[in-house]
């Protein structure tokens, strides 16, 4: 099989790309997409470690399933917040959302 470190390398690259998207994009929806990429990198790591190191134990797959559930909930609430912000501000640029700034 493909060695474990290759999966980990791909996951690390995916996580870094997602992190760049979160930190550098102006648009809030694009930031959320970056978060999705990071969560998927984590899931890939969980499944790869499960397959290579503890294939008799369900914890890897179960954790990945819970990450998926939390990601779905996070996207639903996040996009709802973005739509609410857009309704108030007519903008979804991250820099325009500074209502909490003193």
């Amino acid at each position: 099989m493909v060695p474990l470190w290759m999966y980990l390398t791909v996951a690390a690259a995916l996580f870094s790309i997602g992190m760049y998207g979160v930190l550098a994009r102006r648009n809030a929806v694009a930031v959320l997409m970056g978060i999705e990429l990071m969560l998927n990198a984590v899931n890939l790591n969980l499944i790869a470690f499960w397959r290579y190191l503890t294939p008799f134990n369900m914890s890897g797959q179960a954790f990945a399933a819970f990450v998926l559930v939390v990601a779905a909930a996070e996207v639903a609430v996040g996009l709802a917040i973005i739509i609410a912000v857009y309704r108030n501000r007519q903008s979804v640029e991250v820099e325009d959302v500074d209502m909490l700034k003193g």
């Binding site: 690390a12 929806v29 694009a30 739509i83």
Partner: protein, 173 residues
């Protein structure tokens, strides 16, 4: 994996999914049109589903396609279309884009040092060819001494998130 002995189908599939995943991710981060970014995201998530198949986790692969590509991808498309003026952004990145790049690069190097140094030279074969199946996952999720409590909490979380999303996104009367 040894490329010298010819390209195995598994290695070929791994390369293909790597191109899909990382290429899609780069598309998500760089595209100016957010509808295109959503399509790139679906492509990237599809690559991840392929990895799950390679790693003998077929249930998670199908859930990945259904929930991520199906539900979340469509949700992103809707959000892009509901908020006007997002299909043609003027600028991709904010003023600190180089700082963000530095941070992402540092994270990648740190992860690689953590991954490659301990694992390099290791043939990396799995400890066993036998794996647990989807049946075992289903049993583990509902059996009393394993994951039944997190499972129920997850369903509660989904319900709360659904109600919360409706309340937040609703027009004020």
């Amino acid at each position: 994996m040894n490329f010298g002995e010819g390209l195995t189908p598994e290695a070929f599939a791994f390369g293909l999914f790597t191109i899909l995943t990382l290429g899609g991710a780069l598309g998500v981060v760089t595209s100016l049109n957010l509808v295109r970014a959503a399509i790139w995201l679906m492509l990237s998530l599809f690559g991840i589903a392929g990895y799950f198949v390679l790693l003998s986790a077929p249930f998670l692969a199908s859930v990945q396609v259904l929930v991520y590509i199906g539900a979340i991808g469509i949700l992103f498309s809707f959000a892009v279309m509901l908020t006007r003026g997002m299909t043609n952004l003027k600028e991709r990145f904010n003023d600190q884009w180089w700082l963000a790049g530095l941070a992402a690069l540092t994270a990648f190097v740190l992860l690689m040092v953590g991954v490659i140094v301990p694992a390099f030279g290791n043939s990396g074969a799995p400890v066993s060819d036998q794996v647990t199946t989807t049946v075992d996952l289903g049993v583990a999720l509902v059996s009393g001494n394993q994951y039944v409590l997190p499972f129920e909490v997850a369903s509660l979380l989904l319900t709360a998130a659904m109600i919360g999303a409706i309340v937040i996104a609703r027009e004020d009367d």
